[in-house]
């Protein structure tokens, strides 16, 4: 494990629950690694496979997606849709030579700041352990 390695992590969060979790974290001053970059979408269900793959191709070392808890999606079932898609993406990135665990999907509700921060730290530690995204070194991506 390279000690100097700071992973680049994209955190896709839905506008309702995921973002809310991040806000609760901020309200309670819960700290998390600076290298986690948030990207807000309206609903996780609107994130297409292409966009997530784009993040990996752009050199993201890991991607987390957070939507509302089951049954609580602001838009019927966007969170389920995305969860399903993540399963597909896992197999796609595996075929690209990436570990399937470079993408996580975790439900975070509005008030769950602690859960949000725990997710980022856990994921950051995990990515640090498995090392940088090998696609970064490739010229054909």
């Amino acid at each position: 494990m390279n000690k100097n390695f700071t992973p680049k992590i994209i955190y896709f969060m839905c506008n309702w629950c995921g973002t809310g979790g991040a806000e609760s974290a901020s309200a309670h001053h819960l700290y998390y690694p600076e290298n986690v970059l948030p990207y807000r979408v309206n609903c996780t269900g609107s994130l297409s496979t292409v966009l997530i793959l784009r993040a990996f191709i752009d050199g993201a070392d890991g991607v987390i997606i957070s939507g509302c808890h089951p049954g609580d999606c602001h838009y019927e079932d966007g969170n389920f849709r995305e969860r399903k898609r993540v399963a597909t993406i896992k197999s796609i990135i595996e075929s690209l030579g990436l570990e399937e665990d470079r993408i996580w999907f975790r439900y975070v509700a509005h008030g769950e700041g602690k859960r949000f921060v725990d997710t980022t730290t856990e994921f950051n530690d995990y990515i640090k352990k498995i090392g940088p995204n090998p696609l970064k070194e490739r010229s054909d991506t």
């Binding site: 309200a27 993040a55 509700a109």
Partner: protein, 977 residues
């Protein structure tokens, strides 16, 4: 005399909040008296009694929005002192003391916390409420506060004043709504369960509250020693407490099942036992939770009595009685699901406004009404009128609107017109970055000037500036002027939080004459300042985020908000109790209603009603027939219907003639029917009858010596996995009547699901009715032995009987419902009733759904009464009045903007090949294939901007106006550059 138009709401239970929302929407000013010092100070039901561990209620009542618009006036630490006058013209005197930290003005900069010299444990003497997510509530620990005044000095917006004085105000209002909160049982009330004596005995609500930040995880049940228990008991306390100590609201059994399931989820190896008397889950889909708990391996013990006492520091001893035998069990953790007590303010309210209490100490409500108290013009909602679950409380809120409108004068509130926006398509792209300093407070946390300079150097940025803020009226104006002056046509605002303050930020941009689609709000405070410590890295991260936002706004395109007229006409399908109530309420307020009924007669399930109910219904029918605004079609049905909320058009078929019809809202009141049993010799022997047949035969004469009633016939089985709600109460009432004539009555039951104001169960027990429980899968048998009729109980014992009465449940008219469902594109649930947005499986209580901008929640198609789920008489009226209220809000509007304004999905015509995947995936039926062009089209009034269509489009033809894929790609590129 002119009537007043404003309404005063005292208390903050869910019903009150909902009523406030509804009244504001309808255009009446609301005065909201909060007894506490912040939104959730006096706990209301949502947080405490929800089966879920999160609520988000504060987020779904846009109190701030209405307050900003001037529609809601709220007072904290308020107390009602005096009420005089009459309905339509009350004069109310009340006492109030402003919040120490006025959270409407507070910008949540945390400066006050930083300067506070008093450290108390891991916080200061002024601190943020640890359990509230939406609004940061600043509390002061008066015990440790030295009143040094440093916080007051440092507050940039003067929101904080340590000394606030009490004042007495007098207002004139048309109606008063009492929405007082419930009382939680005390330690004394829960003494049988040794509550408060051991850290291993806790209330469910406490667990839910403590796990708000983390969700329900192992730590939520951690003992003080750090041990995670493995052996749990969940006890529903009102089942075992004396009548009068605490009352059971309808969601307690389901809360227990839910908690059991969640425990099994987080600790699969654990042993979870639920102790209750009967599983009284009679809400929509509650029985499915029972099944789910059993499937998850949770033990459900139906016991007669239970007591808990601490065995040692970490163990609890449970002693319980089951089937006449005593049992003992030791567990490591006991969760108490407690009920509600009658409100202690009832007495004061009786003295102040004259409302009367019922025999249990809750506020009395007039028969056949939802919220009218004994005093005209004074209403009571939520748990003030009886133990309530969330849906009932919320339905009452809107029902109150319906019931109170007759006392209210002309509307006195109209939101201001939006500012005019300029066309920037002709201009060269100029991006301005405005960095909020939160009234100078961000400066201490990071070097904003440095950030500004670096931002100015970004090639695409033509202007960068540090602003004071854009969340208070003066600062919004100031920032809007700055944006205008800088001449930019695209704006990046680096601010605090666009969830809570989104509308203010959009307003800022709009006041600068720009379409809000041309702006991006990034969360400098939430994503950088408050969550990181390293200043260099903070600067780096904010720069990355700003670059990403600039990349996004560079590609944004302006688009207008659409407006459309709303047809002030309602269609009610079905003329049963709910349909008639709905039609009459809507028509009474001056709107046209078309009422269609499949059968010849109005009245629906009339034969199941008792005498008083029949009288009420007959009056209602004649009222509907006489009403000029209601056009009734008997023997008619819906032929076709297309269109969308506010603009439905179709035709009805009446006497073989097609009559075209244009309506704004559609109410589904199609009702349901009685289950006709095939078992228990029903139909073969005349001595086997249903409860309704018995009810209609009761005439004070003795019908038989030995009568046996069998409960749950055709309910709670695989075919109908729900509780039919009405049968237990009906059986108990009939049993009492039979008992009066001298018959012996035995009730064979699975779970005695009696509820409501009168405790018929206790009365039946007192009068000597015998109750014998049978297991879920061991129904008794009815046999004919020669000429005698006998019932064989599950234990094999035979009872010779003269009469067997079957408690048959309610079943939906599935075929009819399916037809309508197909015609209207409106979903049905798994049980064959109509689904509704507030009832998405598995969370009927999910507050987020209940509070969704509700009049649109179901796109103006509303199921009521039995079409929605099994309901008793008064509950059907409640749902009907709730829906009437929702409809009235909309029917009064002439023009309505699209619900999501300019934020909708669109299609790039050139790329769309009309495959139709997006049409299938759209949860809102907002998409269709244009027959001529053979491409997908979006209906802006139905689109909720979720983006499901975007992610499935194989050609990238579909996009959200504010999240276009080229925008996302540039943003990602910038983030990862």
């Amino acid at each position: 005399m002119a009537k007043e138009s404003s309404v005063l709401i005292y208390g903050t239970n869910l019903g009150g909040y909902r009523a406030a929302y509804a009244l504001c929407k309808k255009g009446h000013k609301v005065i909201l008296l909060n007894r506490g010092s912040y939104v959730d100070d006096i706990r209301n039901q949502t947080l405490s009694q929800l089966p879920l561990d999160f609520c988000w209620m504060c987020g779904h009542f846009p109190q701030r929005l209405f307050k900003a618009l001037g529609c809601v006036q709220d007072f904290y630490n308020a107390e009602l002192l005096e009420v005089s006058g009459q309905a339509g013209d009350f004069t109310v005197k009340f006492k109030t003391k402003p919040q120490v930290v006025n959270n409407f003005i507070c910008t949540e900069c945390d400066e006050c916390i930083e300067v506070c010299p008093e450290v108390v444990g891991d916080r200061k003497a002024i601190y943020v409420h640890p359990e509230i997510g939406w609004e940061n509530i600043y509390l002061i620990d008066w015990e440790n506060c030295t009143k040094c005044g440093k916080c007051e000095e440092v507050c940039p917006t003067d929101a904080l004043k340590l000394e606030r004085s009490e004042e007495v105000q007098e207002v004139k209002v048309a109606a008063i709504i009492l929405a007082l909160e419930y009382n939680d049982p005390t330690i004394e009330d829960l003494k049988n369960f040794s509550f408060g004596k051991s850290p291993s005995i806790v209330k469910n609500s406490e667990i839910a509250r403590n796990s708000l930040l983390t969700n329900f995880v192992k730590d939520s049940v951690k003992l003080p020693s750090g041990k995670i228990p493995q052996n749990f008991a969940v006890v529903v306390t009102p089942h075992f407490n004396n009548h009068g100590t605490e009352y059971e609201s309808y969601n307690l059994s389901v809360s227990a099942a839910y908690r059991g399931v969640r425990l099994k989820e987080i600790l699969p190896e654990s042993d979870v036992t639920i102790f209750l008397k009967d599983y009284r889950g009679f809400g929509k889909r509650h029985y499915r939770w029972y099944k789910k708990a059993l499937d998850a391996g949770v033990h459900i013990e139906k016991v007669d009595d239970i007591k808990a006492s601490p065995k040692n520091k970490e163990e609890v001893n449970l002693q319980y009685e089951k089937d006449g035998k005593s049992h003992e069990k030791t567990v490591e953790y006991t969760i108490l699901i407690n009920g509600q007590k009658s409100p202690n303010l009832m007495k004061d309210m009786s003295e102040i406004c004259g409302v009367k209490a019922d025999e249990n100490g809750f506020c009395n409500i007039k028969p056949f009404s939802c919220s009218e108290t004994d005093v005209d013009g004074i209403f009571a909602v939520g748990e003030f009128t009886g133990p309530k679950g969330n849906p009932e409380a919320i339905w009452e809120g809107c029902a109150t609107l319906t019931e109170s409108l007759k006392y209210l004068g002309e509307t006195n509130f109209k939101p201001p017109a939006p500012p005019s926006l300029r066309n920037v398509d002709v201009e060269e792209k100029k991006i301005g970055v405005f960095i909020c300093s939160c009234f100078g407070t961000f400066n201490d946390k990071m070097d904003l000037n440095d950030l500004k300079e670096t931002v100015e150097a970004i090639p695409d940025v033509s202007h960068a500036e540090i602003i004071k803020g854009c969340c208070t009226p003066p600062s919004i104006k100031e920032t809007a002027e700055l944006i205008k002056k800088s001449g930019v046509n695209r704006v990046v605002l680096a601010v605090c939080t666009p969830i809570q303050k989104l509308l203010k930020f959009r307003k800022t941009v709009m006041m600068a004459g720009l379409n809000p689609l041309l702006s991006e709000f990034l969360r400098l405070r939430e994503d950088v300042i408050n969550v990181h410590k390293d200043k260099v890295k903070m600067l780096e991260k904010s720069l990355t985020l700003i670059k990403a936002a600039v990349a996004k706004t560079k590609k944004s395109v302006q688009n207008p908000t659409l407006k459309e007229s709303f047809t002030p006409h309602a269609l009610v399908i079905g003329a049963g109790l709910s349909g008639l109530t709905c039609a009459s309420e809507i028509a009474d307020n001056g709107f046209q209603v078309t009422l269609i009924e499949k059968n010849e007669n109005l009245g629906g399930n009339e034969k199941y009603f008792d005498k008083q109910q029949k009288e009420y219904l007959d009056k209602l029918i004649s009222k509907v027939k006489d009403n000029q605004n209601i056009k009734v079609y008997q023997k008619a049905e819906l032929k076709r219907m297309s269109g969308y909320a506010g603009n439905f058009y179709g035709a009805i078929l009446s006497e073989k003639k097609e009559i075209p019809i244009d309506v704004g809202v559609i109410v589904l009141a199609t009702g349901a029917k009685e289950h006709k049993p095939k078992e228990f010799l029903y139909g073969e022997d005349q001595r086997v009858i249903t409860q309704t047949e018995l009810q209609n035969n009761l005439n004070g004469k003795k019908i038989g010596n030995q009568v046996v009633m069998i409960q749950c016939v055709g309910s709670k089985n695989d075919e109908h996995p729900y509780c039919s709600r009405v049968c237990c109460n009906q059986a108990l009432k009939n049993a009492l009547s039979l008992k009066e004539t001298g018959s012996e009555v035995t009730i064979l039951y699975r779970d005695m699901t009696n509820y409501g104001k009168e405790n018929y169960y206790q009365k039946a027990l007192d009068s000597g009715v015998k109750f014998i429980r049978f297991e879920d899968n061991k129904y008794p048998e009815v046999k004919k032995n020669a000429d005698a009729l006998e019932v064989i109980k599950s234990d094999g014992e035979k009872i010779k009987v003269d009469l067997v009465v079957l408690s048959t449940g309610i079943e939906p008219d599935e075929e009819n419902n399916r037809n309508l469902s197909n015609l209207l594109g409106y979903p049905m649930d798994k049980d064959g009733f109509f689904d509704s947005d507030v009832n998405v499986y598995p969370y009927e209580e999910s507050i987020k759904r209940l509070f969704k901008p509700y009049e649109w929640a179901t796109n103006c198609i509303y199921p009521v009464g039995l079409a929605h789920s099994p309901r008793a008489f008064e509950e059907s009226i409640l749902t009907a009045r709730d829906i009437a209220g929702r409809a009235l809000i909309l029917l009064g509007k002439k023009m309505l903007p699209a619900p999501n304004a300019m934020y909708i999905a669109e299609v790039k015509d050139a790329l769309c090949m009309g495959c139709g995947i997006c049409v299938d995936v759209c949860a809102y039926s907002a998409r269709a294939i244009d027959i001529e062009k053979k491409i997908a089209v979006v209906h802006p009034f139905l689109c909720d901007s979720c983006g499901s269509c975007v992610s499935v489009c194989p050609n990238d033809a579909s996009y959200l106006r504010d999240f276009m894929s080229n925008q996302t790609i540039s943003t990602l590129d910038a983030l990862l550059a």
